[in-house]
């Protein structure tokens, strides 16, 4: 465990996480004491699907992806987590191995809180339980939507929706790791099909694809595309 005076302490990092926002400082401190800091390099696996995980993981910095891998190595991104977000809830709240693999997309710092330290305060702090439930409910909805997307929507419609959801003021700024292959894995497709969809939407004048960003030109047109299934 390495702590230098320039890096924030566990308590500081945890206080920014919604789960712990309602806790008094004494309880937060107890939880922070049970947290261990880990640093990961880009591409490093935090844990594999089916492996137990040491506890609740809180991201201090860096982006990580939560994925499923097929037998032949194709990947489906379930979600991407960044600073202030958490993963590993499955092993904490259900005492089950994590269903998915977590990989760092860039250098990342993560605090791992042991299971017991997470469970203990729940009895006395119903507000904490409620925030966790809210978060898990969002996660359930996200997966339901992903199932619907994969099963019932075309890749073009999925892409249109991703762009609409992610673009700030009409422009999706691509992070360094957000390669087309990563976007394809997120949409449950392969590079060739994603490229075709991007070109298709661009050719119709709905979006403009540049190196580091994708700009929405015709929001309404894109919304129509996101709703329709051809």
């Amino acid at each position: 465990m390495s702590r230098s005076c320039t890096s924030p302490t566990a308590a500081k990092v945890l206080s920014a996480v919604p789960y712990f926002a309602e806790l008094d400082s004494a309880t937060l401190k107890t939880i922070a004491q049970a947290a261990v800091r880990r640093d990961y390099k880009a591409g490093q696996v935090v844990f594999g699907a089916g492996e137990p995980c040491a506890g609740l993981c809180v991201v201090q910095e860096g982006w990580l992806k939560v994925i499923k891998l097929s037998a032949d190595g194709r990947e489906q991104v379930l979600r991407v987590v960044g600073a202030g977000e958490t993963f590993g809830e499955m092993s904490v709240f259900a005492d089950k191995p994590n269903p998915a693999t977590v990989v760092a997309l860039e250098p990342a710092t993560v605090w791992i809180i042991q299971r017991d330290a997470m469970l203990r305060p729940l009895d006395r702090h119903p507000a904490m339980a409620r925030v966790i439930l809210q978060n898990m409910a969002e996660r359930v909805l996200h997966l339901v939507t992903l199932v619907e997307d994969l099963s019932l929507r075309t890749v073009e419609a999925r892409l249109a929706r991703l762009l609409l959801e992610r673009a700030a003021e009409g422009t999706l700024h691509r992070r360094r790791w957000a390669t087309q292959a990563e976007i394809a894995a997120r949409l449950g497709t392969v590079l060739v099909v994603l490229n075709r969809a991007l070109h298709g939407l661009a050719a119709e004048g709905l979006i403009e694809v540049e190196r580091h960003q994708i700009r929405i030109v015709d929001r309404e047109g894109l919304e129509t595309r996101a709703m329709l299934n051809e």
Binding site: A129, R130, R153
Partner: protein, 221 residues
């Protein structure tokens, strides 16, 4: 007739509750009955309540704009649905739920449900466990849809849904298709291929698993 408390005791989410908490849950729960084919809730409607099944079976599905179905799960006695939207701001029903048999269930309104969970840590923890299960199930479904062939999905479906060695006959081929994210023809064709390979036998009303190991190999594809 069973009292509400007795019926609620059979629901695992409530099984471990203290007598006091149980009495409050029973107080908040309203019993409803639905006929076969009746829709309990519609996807996209404002969430009114969380539901707990006492008797019968339901199916939970999403509909595409052109009317194609994706079944998310089938639920039976003791299981719950619509427990996530009450925790979301302006929560709406995530899916449509339809009775597959005569169904008896208990509804607890969103406000009541949130209040109970806020005041009873034991219930909050039970609901958290349930969400974790749900996440697990949905993650596997995503994996199936995205990364497995229909052949692989069907093999896994048969392995998971077979009681002893007989796959449950309550699923029609159309319903299996809606769960596996494919069409009925494809299910029929794949079932015949499995039968030809000696992995299963199709009787009139049921599917008999002949070679579990063979199916497990197929399920990896």
């Amino acid at each position: 007739m069973e009292t509400t408390i007795q019926a609620l005791r059979h629901i695992p989410l409530f099984a471990g509750l203290s007598g006091e908490t149980m009495a409050r849950v029973a107080n908040a729960a309203i019993r409803h009955t639905y006929a076969l084919g009746e829709t309990v809730i519609f996807e996209g409607d404002p969430c009114q309540a969380a539901y707990f099944i006492a008797e019968g079976q339901v199916r939970v599905y999403r509909l595409s704009p052109e009317g194609r179905e994706q079944v998310l799960v089938r639920l039976g006695p003791g299981q719950a649905f619509n427990t996530a939207p009450p925790f979301q701001r302006d929560g709406v029903n995530h899916a449509t739920v339809e009775a597959l048999t005569l169904v008896t269930l208990f509804a607890i309104t969103c406000d009541e449900f949130r209040r109970l969970v806020g005041e009873c840590p034991e219930l909050a923890l039970a609901i958290l466990y349930d969400f974790a299960d749900r996440l697990d199930h949905l993650t596997n479904l995503v994996e199936d849809l995205s990364l497995r062939t229909v052949r692989g999905r069907l093999a896994r479906f048969l392995l998971e849904n077979a009681d002893t060695d007989t796959a449950t006959s309550r699923w029609t081929q159309g319903e299996i298709a809606a769960y596996l994210g494919t069409v009925r023809d494809m299910v029929g064709r794949t079932l015949r291929a499995f039968a030809d390979a000696g992995l299963i036998r199709m009787d009139r009303q049921r599917i008999v698993l002949l070679d579990r190991e063979g199916l497990e190999i197929e399920a990896q594809r």
